[in-house]
């Protein structure tokens, strides 16, 4: 297997700088405003040079780098940008995997376990479908890199290696504008000088490596597998294999998650609940219509509000039952707007629907079909049951007796004889 890895260092900053050219060369800090109690999500090279680190409080970042440009976190924008990268790669190869999150989250600079998402994004491409020799793969990968740079104006670090882990590690040390190629059989040689923090190890294991003086993967690879396994268990064995360039994991193909989006920009900014609700109603009417045209329902509604002071508030609603109803979604939007206390006008509102499933029928009470009063209803029901019993025998119609306190789902109801 030959795998290409496209690693985007400081992806969030790259996206922000792409969308706003005036940020180029400035110390950019993404995460929020300095007075907010939030951590630094990502920072540009210039900000890192001042000592700003991912995961540190924004206030602390401000004291270190007061001239920094502080930007709010717009997760939707970054997700869209990364989806565009993956879609471009998926046009070039049938097997594309999104990210190596486990590695990133544990080895990210500054804040392991701080709850901050990865600094860089990476994508893997399986080359066996496209290239037959090393020249072909190099040309292919180079072409994709240029496509990403020209079409999306993002700058990945690119590597090609025999497996995922080696490709990922090689991309971390690859130079900008170049492709690092690790030939088959050269994995161990390449990894021996790389730091052990590249390994997907737990924080505790990394601390123990540090205490034992194991700083490079070559040191770990030189130990006997039995000793590593004895000291670090299954995790140690896995890390030993990785440090020897053995990674048997396969690429998990990425597939695009469909979404429906609608947004409205308020000019002048909306200040009243009535204005927001009216616009929300219009957006939801459109979304509901699109859902119904596709014969689908959704399970998730995301509401994003952008304020004039650059704040972004986001709320995700998970529906208990899949719905395409405008009224249901509007009820959730109203509930959210009622509960929120905003002091700043809203400049933009975005509504996103995800988690689609096929439209299905709803269970209704048997009595709902009878509208001629209870007596008539009782008579109709008795006659229907009598006909069913004549046709299919006794016991064919039962009454459901609900037992809501039952622990086991199968005991939560029972059937009894229907007696009118």
């Amino acid at each position: 297997m030959r795998v290409a890895c496209f690693f985007f260092p400081r992806f969030v900053v790259q996206v922000e700088a792409r969308d706003n050219a005036s940020l180029q060369g400035k110390p950019v800090i993404v995460g929020g405003h300095p007075y907010e109690r939030k951590p630094v999500y990502d920072a540009s090279q210039e900000a890192l040079a001042y000592g700003v680190r991912r995961g540190m409080p924004l206030r602390e970042a401000y004291t270190i780098c007061p001239q920094g440009v502080f930007l709010p976190l717009d997760e939707g924008k970054y997700t869209d940008a990364f989806t565009a990268v993956l879609a471009l790669l998926a046009d070039c190869s049938p097997v594309v995997e999104a990210g190596y999150r486990e590695l990133h989250s544990r080895t990210s600079q500054g804040a392991p376990g701080s709850g901050v998402s990865p600094a860089g994004h990476s994508a893997f491409v399986d080359l066996r479908y496209e290239c037959s020799d090393s020249f072909g793969e190099l040309r292919f990968v180079e072409e994709i890199r240029q496509l990403i740079e020209t079409r999306l104006q993002l700058h990945p670090l690119v590597s090609v290696a025999p497996n995922k882990f080696v490709a990922w590690a090689a991309s971390r040390v690859a130079g900008p504008g170049k492709v690092t190629v690790i030939a088959g059989g050269g994995e161990k040689d390449f990894l021996k000088d790389q730091p052990v923090c590249f390994l997907p190890a737990s924080v505790r294991t990394l601390e123990r490596f540090e205490l034992l003086g194991i700083h490079r993967m070559g040191q770990l690879a030189g130990l006997s597998p039995a000793a590593v396994s004895l000291e670090f268990g299954n995790e140690g064995q896995h890390l030993w294999e990785l440090s020897n360039g053995i990674d048997r994991s396969r690429l998990v193909s990425w597939s695009h998650v469909p979404t429906l989006k609608e947004q409205v920009n308020f000019e002048p900014p909306a200040e009243t609940l009535h204005q927001l609700l009216a616009s929300g109603d219009t957006l939801l009417t459109g979304l509901s219509r699109q859902l119904k045209e596709r014969w689908q329902c959704c399970l998730r509604l995301t509401i994003s509000m952008h304020f004039t002071n650059d704040h972004i508030a986001q709320r995700v609603f998970h529906f208990k039952e899949a719905t395409s109803s405008r009224e249901t979604m509007l009820r959730h939007l109203k509930q959210y707007l009622d509960s929120a206390r905003y002091t700043t006008p809203v400049s933009e509102m975005r509504l996103t629907l995800t988690d689609f499933c096929p439209e299905s029928g709803r269970q209704a009470l048997i009595s709902s079909g009878f509208s001629d009063g209870p007596r008539k209803h009782r008579e109709s029901l008795a006659s229907a049951i009598s006909r069913l019993r004549q046709r299919y025998g006794k016991g064919v119609v039962g009454k459901v007796l609900a037992k809501p306190n039952s622990a086991l789902p199968e005991d939560s109801f029972s059937f009894t004889e229907f007696d009118l």
């Binding site: 299954n234 597939s255 039952e321 899949a322 988690d355 689609f356 499933c357 096929p358 299905s360 029928g361 709803r362 269970q363 622990a407 086991l408 789902p409 199968e410 939560s412």
Partner: protein, 84 residues
């Protein structure tokens, strides 16, 4: 809406080392688990009917939500409910 199976259906489940489902076969189709929405245990005393189950409510790659459980007494996997 959901369909609850009174007689839970026996399933072939691919599980990880912590006995979390990765994928399972249902109606001759392989359902890849995308996320676990809920996880809980039900333990019922021997004086009623001894039951020890670990339930998982999962969403699969196809978007359907399933409720399956692992019988901790026998190790067998069963499908209890399908949400549509």
């Amino acid at each position: 809406m959901s369909k609850l199976f009174r007689e839970a259906i026996k399933l072939e489940v691919e599980e990880d080392t912590q006995h979390k489902p990765i994928a399972f076969l249902y109606k001759r189709r392989r359902e890849q688990v995308r996320e676990t929405l809920k996880r809980w245990r039900i333990v019922q005393g021997w004086w009623k009917r001894p039951v020890m189950r670990e339930y998982f409510q999962v969403r699969t790659a196809s978007g359907t939500v399933y409720e399956l459980y692992r019988d901790l007494l026998t190790g067998a996997w069963r499908l209890q409910r399908v949400y549509d």
